[in-house]
């Protein structure tokens, strides 16, 4: 995704077991913070199809 121009940070991977509730909260928090700091998405936005 980043290779084709999505800003770095927007795509994140994590592995959380169903038992790791604190890690889940932590990761969600971090992800939302990172995304918020990146601001609105510039690319890869599908609105009404651009057709004739």
């Amino acid at each position: 995704m980043e290779h084709m121009g999505i800003e770095p940070g927007r795509l994140q991977f994590s592995w959380i077991s169903s038992a790791e509730s604190t890690k889940f909260v932590k990761v969600v928090k971090e992800v939302t913070e990172t995304i918020k700091s990146l601001g609105p998405r510039k690319h890869f936005i599908k609105t009404e199809a651009k057709v004739a």
């Binding site: 995704m1 084709m4 121009g5 199809a49 651009k50």
Partner: protein, 315 residues
């Protein structure tokens, strides 16, 4: 190339005569310059149709999917690697195949020659390492190495990796090839530039799916773009949908793509489709030190879990 053609015919004739195979899949001479047509021969008397030259770029492994007959197949390096992929993915049974291996010296790039010649091309003759182009302009002679398909120019597996017979002695493999110069160039771009690069790349795409359909990996009974429940991707030529098709297709080829170049070769509007697949090929090479299609007995890295699998990208 004449000796290749003769040997292919000779082997095919014998296979068909001895009823070792029901059909031989190979190429026949095309009707326009620099094009050959994949074909099948069932009758030993018709092997004269089979030919070999530097216009056999279509990946014949694509014609094996789902076939149940005993098949003789003419296979250059990349075709043979895709046969291996088919074997690994259980798409074809090794016992049903008789692989006629062709040590390959690269396929010529029809588009590239068209551009540098500039005028309409009427005939192209191969003379060893020279390509003679006849057309509306003057006759021109090119070095074959200058007009190779891009993937052939950086190919490091020209020899078939799996075969029952060879049509000629193995060729020397290319050494010290920088396979990923183009990928690195994109990697070094800032995000917006990357975005713009791919936007420019796809601007002419008409979503004819030639790239997908020429690809031996793309054998899904229903491709995700044809799915309506759920509809993963829109069907118009909206640029976001077009891009989604291309990059998702590339993902589906991750760790499976042999860089045979069929996708790029068949594109009617000249898109360098490999710009998508090669990044993943490079990643798989760097992360797992893996090249697909070399050994039918090893499972690919994205198929198996190993404790030492890299996981830096997982937080």
């Amino acid at each position: 190339m004449l000796e290749y053609t003769e040997k292919i015919r000779e082997i095919s004739q014998k296979l068909l005569k001895d009823s070792k195979v029901d059909m031989v899949i190979g190429f026949r001479k095309g009707t326009v310059p620099m094009m050959n047509e994949p074909t099948f021969i069932r009758n030993a008397n018709e092997v004269g149709q089979l030919i070999w030259d530097s216009n056999c770029g279509i990946n014949l492994a694509n014609y094996l999917t789902g076939r149940k007959e005993k098949i003789g197949i003419v296979a250059k390096g990349c075709d043979s690697r895709n046969i291996v992929v088919h074997l690994v993915e259980n798409k074809v049974n090794r016992d049903n195949l008789h692989i006629i291996g062709v040590p390959c010296k690269g396929m010529i790039d029809r588009r590239k020659i068209g551009v540098i010649y500039g005028e309409e091309i009427l005939n192209v003759v191969e003379d060893g390492e020279k390509i003679v182009v006849e057309g509306d302009g003057d006759e021109k002679v090119y070095d074959k190495k200058d007009v190779l398909q891009e993937n052939c120019a950086i190919c490091i597996h020209r020899n078939p990796v799996i075969y029952d017979e060879l049509v000629a002695d193995l060729v020397e493999e290319q050494k010290d090839v920088d396979r990923y110069e183009d990928v690195r160039k994109i990697e070094s771009m800032p995000p917006d530039e990357k975005w713009a690069y791919f936007e420019g790349l796809l601007k002419n795409c008409i979503r004819c799916y030639a790239c997908r359909n020429a690809c031996p990996l793309c054998y899904c009974p229903t491709c995700f773009v044809d799915e309506s429940r759920p509809q993963w991707v829109g069907k118009s030529i909206d640029p976001v949908d077009t891009r989604t098709f291309h990059f998702l297709r590339a993902y589906h080829c991750a760790g499976r793509c042999t860089d045979c170049g069929a996708c790029e070769r068949v594109c009617p509007v000249g898109i360098n489709v490999r710009a998508f697949t090669k990044k993943l090929e490079k990643d798989v090479k760097e992360l797992y030190d893996w090249e697909i299609g070399l050994d039918p007995n090893v499972r690919p890295p994205l198929d198996v879990y190993k404790t030492q699998d890299p996981e830096d990208f997982i937080k």
